[in-house]
Symmetry: none
Subunit: 219 residues, 4 copies
Amino acid sequence: MPDGDLTERRRQEITAAAFKVFAERGYHATGIADIARELGFGHGTFYRYFANKRDIVTHVIEVAIQRIVAAVGAESPDLADTAEEYHAQLQRIGRGLYDLFIDDPQLARIFFFESGGVDQELTERMLETTELFGSLTEPYLRNGVEKGFLRADLDVPVTARAINGMIIAGALAAFRADDSAAARDRWVKSAADLIINGTRTRAATEEGQLPPRSTAATA
Amino acid sequence: MPDGDLTERRRQEITAAAFKVFAERGYHATGIADIARELGFGHGTFYRYFANKRDIVTHVIEVAIQRIVAAVGAESPDLADTAEEYHAQLQRIGRGLYDLFIDDPQLARIFFFESGGVDQELTERMLETTELFGSLTEPYLRNGVEKGFLRADLDVPVTARAINGMIIAGALAAFRADDSAAARDRWVKSAADLIINGTRTRAATEEGQLPPRSTAATA
Amino acid sequence: MPDGDLTERRRQEITAAAFKVFAERGYHATGIADIARELGFGHGTFYRYFANKRDIVTHVIEVAIQRIVAAVGAESPDLADTAEEYHAQLQRIGRGLYDLFIDDPQLARIFFFESGGVDQELTERMLETTELFGSLTEPYLRNGVEKGFLRADLDVPVTARAINGMIIAGALAAFRADDSAAARDRWVKSAADLIINGTRTRAATEEGQLPPRSTAATA
Amino acid sequence: MPDGDLTERRRQEITAAAFKVFAERGYHATGIADIARELGFGHGTFYRYFANKRDIVTHVIEVAIQRIVAAVGAESPDLADTAEEYHAQLQRIGRGLYDLFIDDPQLARIFFFESGGVDQELTERMLETTELFGSLTEPYLRNGVEKGFLRADLDVPVTARAINGMIIAGALAAFRADDSAAARDRWVKSAADLIINGTRTRAATEEGQLPPRSTAATA
DNA sequence: CATGAATGAGACTTCATTCAT
DNA sequence: GATGAATGAAGTCTCATTCAT
């Protein structure tokens, strides 16, 4: 396999093309020839840059994971000092993720649908990634618990993963939505409200004047 | 294709065998011969009961969906009259689902990993099912809103789907847990707490003595 | 892979066809499709009876070896009691082998030319076979030494292999000869004479009136 | 294709490298890139010096043949005047050949195993070479017949080729021997004895005191 | 001259599906 | 109805060869 900067650029080109074709037709329905055709070169060329079909799918998935991680990693876990700030942060993250999947629907398809169904090893990799996302979410909760605006008895690891589950649901919703902007706002608001109300302390609730805490039922 | 009761029994046998083998090796790695061998008959016989390989996977997924729906459908949406009852109901449902996936890990594998990766149509079917689960969860929330123990301004459809996302996360967690009973209890508690606290009215919070509403931070 | 008598017959058919095609075009120039075409069936069928291309060549070579062994094995090592009888026996064996290769030129091609050039393992197998032929020739010499008509100081193992070398040369000669019957007789006579005169005791020489022991030079 | 002395040197370098690599991995398992890598240049360069892969193997085989011919050609056919001298000459030739193959096992591999398996034409070339060796051996016998120490009725062409067959056997033995020096001496002695005793006149036998003519059986 | 990126013919192999028995 | 032998489309991968730089 050749080296150098040009080679790396070529590998990225191929990975991008494979990303697209896998998302469109699915891993198994895609032939190496399809990837090559997408870029307009002979299929033999593919093998100059990747060892085999299994090799490219690994790279494609890895790119997908990196993109998602990058979208989440824009925020800092200890940024929020109050429930309000956390609530705002949740919405920023949610909106970012939602937009990510809206702008690149292939990303969702690759990550959610294609990473299963290839083989045991890749399925395992996806579960590990789920775990990684879990551990990335934990610090946000821990920050809130330590600063006293989230419940002290929160089961942080489990709650973190439950929250991620909502994100997954959001991503799938993004996948089907017609009016994506409106859907995003409804979805982000509901999820953020659910999380903030479900996790903050009573004290935080009473002090703040958070919009989600409806008083309608008390009237 | 043969008719009669015996035929239907045979189809179910094959579906069950396919369910098992698909879960173990994955759809694409499984041959028709593997399914037939599992049941000890010739693989030509398979085609007397199903049109083709694509046909059987549809049935397998359908069985998986039915099993999950059955587990959820044991409860009645309008059973709960108070936040406490809803909280208890949430835990019953959660525990039921968790146990379902623990008792039958193949179910999770089929539904989460294999229903992607086959083709566009089946992926679509899985998304529809996600929608179905969303609409099955809605009545529980609507019941609470109507009876006044859940927030009136709840975006019911969206929140229902967010809650389902937590369930998905729980199912995936079940998939990896070592001590399943302990994991289940932690998981169900956290998710139910998150939901109840995130969705109920302030009045309901103040009246009831719900365990999750920590007072530690107020001390 | 299917079993039964019919299956075995099919395997033999395919082996025979492969034998022919390998001999005609050589192992590497032959595709599985060529073997299948020879028998008039689809190339996929080949794989019902043999695991892969390497598998069939093993069988083909083994058949070739068996045929040669069978041709040699017709004689019994302890049959000859005198140099004359041994001389006659040598000619019978030589004629048998020569005819074998004349009747089936493919046999020589397979054994001498194709068994090298496939891979290390098969080359090794051919060398082992050469060894086997060596050990099959030894008893003939040992018989003669024990009965006193061959030289007592004969290095039996080495001489046996040297004799086999002549046989190889004869086989190659058979390969090129125009008038095969005449070539055979000249060749068998010369080789048998060379061997008998080269190995017998002086006593045996003087007693017998063997034709090869020319007296021309003494005149 | 470039010309000049330097070009010729390059061609020889490549031929030598190909010789080595073909011997190690076999013709079909060797890629042009393997040859180029052996010399540390780009594989495209190969095609400036040889037309194609088939072209280089021709040259490699030719080199192998030349080396063997050179080893045999060191002797002069009319050097021997008596059976004793011929016997000594046989041993010199035999020892030379044996050492040639011991010192350069690749030579044997190329000539015996790789010249088969390539294609019809090269196989033909090897058979022609066998013929050449036959005609190279003939003069030695003819010399003996003319000078009267070899049997007058010897079928010179055929016997020459039979003798060559022993040489082939010796070369293959060299290929497998553990203690090459000891194996060589045993082998050369046996073959030379077999030949001299098998070809000389009775008169020559009685006059000379050749060691191989055992008298043990006459006692 | 040297290079190595690109190419595509072609070989192997699998397996869903058909169909005669 | 059951079977499994036969099939060939289709896919992966290799590598000799070309040719622009």
